[in-house]
């Protein structure tokens, strides 16, 4: 290594380079369910060789690819933007592709199970349809009464755009909704994700249907079911301030407008 490299600010990374990292064996305890065979889910242990920088998704892939091809989970992008692989890891909702092994307590087994509150289909896969049904109910699309100037964009100030920036980040992974104790006990509750997506339009200066959405969410299964436990905010892999967004919708309902 040259002196120049030693001077480079990322030198501290050298000790973390892949060849310097030691692999080790970790135990994953996964809640399995095969609808063709099982009447009840059961827990199964797998020992997997991993690197600290591996994602939980990598560990699941190692099991599926090297040990048991029947282990079933959803995944696609593998870096936290598609929202396929929300699951309960050590009792907390997270994306498997955004949770690194080193950030868990590797002295203990890692417990992995499907997200709660949605019908279990197989292993880590749940039926997402009820989740998307709630999403659709809040009219998650721009509704503007005005016609934009021909061939031009609608004007929106930087501040107006910033007003709803946080809730545009939602990837519909269901980590928030399926971490909500109210949703677990009352499947009719819209849930945090639907409210987040309503918020995204309620506070968009270009939209004219805020009142419609506020009325929808003023329903008995709407925002008032929220008990402000902050599970949703903790669970959001995109760092959306979900509980705050719900509170803003509540305030808008009380004052009668966005």
């Amino acid at each position: 290594m040259s002196t120049a490299v030693a001077d480079a600010p990322a030198e501290g990374q050298a000790s973390d380079a892949p060849e310097a990292i030691k692999s080790f064996v970790v135990t994953l305890i996964i809640r399995r369910f095969d609808p063709d065979v099982d009447t009840e889910p059961h827990w199964q242990d797998f020992d997997v060789e991993v690197y600290p920088t591996d994602r939980v998704l990598d560990a699941l892939h190692k099991i599926k690819w090297d040990q048991d091809g029947s282990l079933t989970f959803r995944r696609s992008c593998a870096h936290g933007v598609c929202g396929s692989d929300a699951m309960r890891i050590n009792g907390r909702n997270r994306l498997a592709c955004k949770t690194l092994i080193k950030d868990l307590d590797v002295q203990k087994p890692i417990y992995v199970e499907a997200i709660k509150g949605l019908p279990l289909e197989k292993d880590l896969v749940v039926d997402m349809e009820p989740f998307f049904a709630s999403y659709r109910e809040v009219q998650p699309f721009l509704q503007a009464n005005s016609t934009p100037p021909e061939g031009k964009e609608r004007i929106q100030s930087v501040a107006e755009r910033a007003r709803f920036d946080d809730t545009t980040k939602c990837i519909l992974c269901a980590a928030c909704t399926s971490s909500c104790p109210v949703f677990w006990t009352d499947g009719q509750y819209f849930g945090p994700a639907a409210i987040v997506n309503a918020h995204r339009f309620i506070f968009d200066s270009r939209d004219d249907a805020s009142q419609v959405r506020l009325d929808i969410l003023n329903d008995k299964e709407g925002v008032w079911r929220c008990r402000t436990t902050f599970n949703c905010t903790d669970a959001c892999p995109r760092g959306i301030q979900v509980t705050q967004a719900i509170a803003e919708v509540k305030q808008a309902i009380m004052r009668g407008h966005a």
């Binding site: 065979v37 955004k98 197989k122």
Partner: protein, 605 residues
């Protein structure tokens, strides 16, 4: 069987549906097509994922359009940049459509609700991007419309939102495995190929569905998973392109694969070119801004092929960083925390999460990552699929990464893919609507699902011993080693051998999950078959092109050779696909490049 089978019928366990238009794939291209088609024709969108999981959502930096919101620009400059960026293998009439219709495409999205970043006047903000220049290369121009570094996410969400608004009929987690083609009477006593529908496997139940339709639009994305280091999702296995290949329709320019310069080291996760658009700089181990040597005028904002090659060259010549001197740095430290947090928040987080590197204070280790297929299913400018250089398959359309119009030539410019899916997605939908107004349903073949059923049952009940993952890993590693940024006849010959061996092993592949419901093991086996087919076409086409152009760099033929290779490759599956020598079953032909305004010139930046 005939076209008389009613919508909703179940015969021998196979479900039958009937739609005017079936769109395969629910990424940006598919959903943009659906928004055009849905209100005017009975339309279904079939996707192997939930629509919002599609990889359009992973695109970051922007979508190009000469709006001139922040500085002077026009569509002709954009056309020129696209042609030059593609190393003159771009069909120039198509590039002109892309650049002209870009403006409406961006405005359409804004009007649909897309939350673009804004200028102080409240207009759509624009940023610089690689290869996009003012007045034919004089300096970088701000042409990319963006929403932080989540532009693809916002496009995918906005299109999905509008599909919800329109009540588009989605079949989610349905995996299309076959395209049904019938022969009908054409003009002048000829016969003509036309689609009669598709066959899909429902992941939740393991049951098969036949969708009869007048028109079929393929918008199935790319196949980056033929490589190990890739920005592509696990699901990008080229199923749509593979189906077209197996139907013995041609594939165009398959040798041209784009390696995006800034993949997170060791992982391949994309870090947007928008970072360099905002001023980030690539540095070698000694901290030198090496792109000044390779592209003196626009430096770090040279097109991706040039930047990726320059990075690999730095490493090969011993100037790489790190303990193994095998990467370079993307230095964002001078941009400041505010720019990173507001304009590049996601990539900042990726570097922190996956490498433990904070871009605010330290440079990020990066290397090129397999990113985008320039080649694919040949189409006309109206998104009609071609069965040879000039003959269309009426009723069959393709759009987006799976298609080759060709607007990207041998190297796509950054931000032109989000543009491509919108412009040609819209065109495919609109043209399909026109087509189905007068077209009849083509009769289904007898037992339309039999071929798919046999393939799936063969795999599921196989007593094979070869692990899916082992074959796939070997393919991906050897493609990285031999068919990546630099290629030679020797490396391509070596990987040809590898692929042949893997295709033999694939015949003995093992599916461990014998169940019907959510059998993702079976799905992976099928996907691997497509990957092997497509890798073979990529390598065979690459070996045949004895020149260096755009994304295809032959170390043994380092110069562009316009005299012999200023033409598109057309690959056809002709013989027994299982024969050992690809020359026995792949026939290569050429297709002329459309040149309108710009004569090929040496490419300097």
């Amino acid at each position: 069987m005939s076209e008389q089978i009613a919508d909703g019928a179940v015969i021998d366990g196979v479900h039958y549906h009937q739609f005017d238009i079936v769109i395969v794939g629910a990424g940006g291209g598919g959903m943009r097509a659906a928004i055009e088609a849905g209100p005017h024709a009975k339309t279904a969108v079939i996707s192997k994922l939930y629509p919002t999981r599609s990889h359009t959502g992973a695109a970051q930096g922007g979508m190009a359009a000469a709006l001139s919101n922040v500085e002077e620009d026009n569509w002709e400059w954009h056309t020129y940049d696209t042609v030059k960026g593609g190393d003159y293998l771009v069909d120039q009439d198509a590039a002109e459509i892309l650049a002209k219709e870009a403006i409406d495409a961006v405005i359409d999205l804004e009007n649909m609700g897309l939350p673009f970043n804004r200028t102080p006047e409240g207009k759509i903000d624009q940023r610089r991007f690689g290869g996009h220049t003012r007045d034919h290369g004089k300096a970088a121009v701000r042409r990319a419309c963006y929403a932080a570094d989540r532009t693809g996410h916002m496009i995918l969400q906005t299109l999905f939102q509008n599909c919800v608004k329109l009540g588009i009929n989605f079949f989610n987690e349905f995996y299309v495995l076959d395209l049904l083609i019938g022969e009908v009477d054409g003009p002048d006593g000829t016969t003509q190929k036309r689609p009669s529908g598709v066959v899909a496997y429902e992941l939740a139940t393991g049951e098969l569905h036949v969708f009869q339709s007048k028109a079929v639009i393929f918008a199935t994305g790319g196949f980056g998973k033929i490589f190990k280091t890739t920005s592509n999702a696990h699901t990008l296995t080229g199923d749509g392109v593979g189906i077209i290949w197996r139907k013995r329709l041609p594939l165009e320019d398959m040798e041209f694969f784009q390696f995006h310069p800034t993949g997170l080291y060791g992982l391949g996760i994309l870090l947007t070119e928008g970072a360099r658009g905002e001023g980030a700089i690539l540095r070698n181990a000694s901290g030198e801004r090496f792109m000044e040597r390779y592209a003196p005028t626009i430096k770090d904002l040279a097109p991706r092929d040039i930047v990726a090659r320059s990075m690999v060259q730095e490493v090969l010549e011993g100037r790489g960083a790190g303990p193994n001197k095998d990467y370079v740095y993307l230095d964002c430290t001078h941009l400041g925390a505010e720019v990173l947090e507001t304009k590049l928040p996601d990539i900042t987080e990726f570097a922190r999460t996956y490498l433990g590197v904070d871009p605010v204070v330290e440079p990020v280790p990066v290397m090129p990552t397999a990113h985008y297929a320039m080649g694919g299913i040949p189409t006309t400018n109206n998104a009609e699929v071609l069965s040879d250089n000039t003959t269309i398959v009426p009723g069959l359309y393709a759009a987006g990464e799976c298609a080759c119009v060709s607007v990207h030539g041998s190297n796509r410019l950054g931000t032109n893919s989000l543009l491509d899916i919108n412009v040609f997605g819209k065109r495919s939908g609109r043209n399909a609507v026109e087509y189905v107004k007068t077209a009849e349903f083509v009769p289904l073949p007898d037992n339309p699902a039999a071929g798919v059923r046999d393939m799936l049952e063969g795999l599921r009940t196989s007593t094979g011993t070869e692990r899916i993952a082992a074959i796939r890993k070997e393919l991906q590693e050897q493609m990285d080693r031999n068919a990546q940024v630099f290629r030679t006849d020797d490396t391509l010959a070596a990987v040809t051998e590898t692929i042949h061996g893997l295709r033999e092993r694939y015949r003995n592949v093992q599916v461990q999950d014998k169940g019907k419901r959510f059998n993702t093991d079976l799905l992976e086996a099928v996907e691997l078959g497509f990957l092997l087919d497509l890798a073979e076409v990529v390598v065979f086409s690459a070996r045949n092109r004895k020149e260096s152009r755009g994304g295809h760099m032959r170390d043994d033929y380092p110069k562009r050779d316009d005299e012999n290779y200023m033409k598109h490759t057309m690959a056809y599956l002709t013989g027994d696909p299982h024969s050992s020598n690809p020359a026995d079953h792949i026939k290569l032909d050429w297709k002329p490049v459309v040149i309108t305004r710009y004569q090929p010139m040496e490419r300097k930046y």
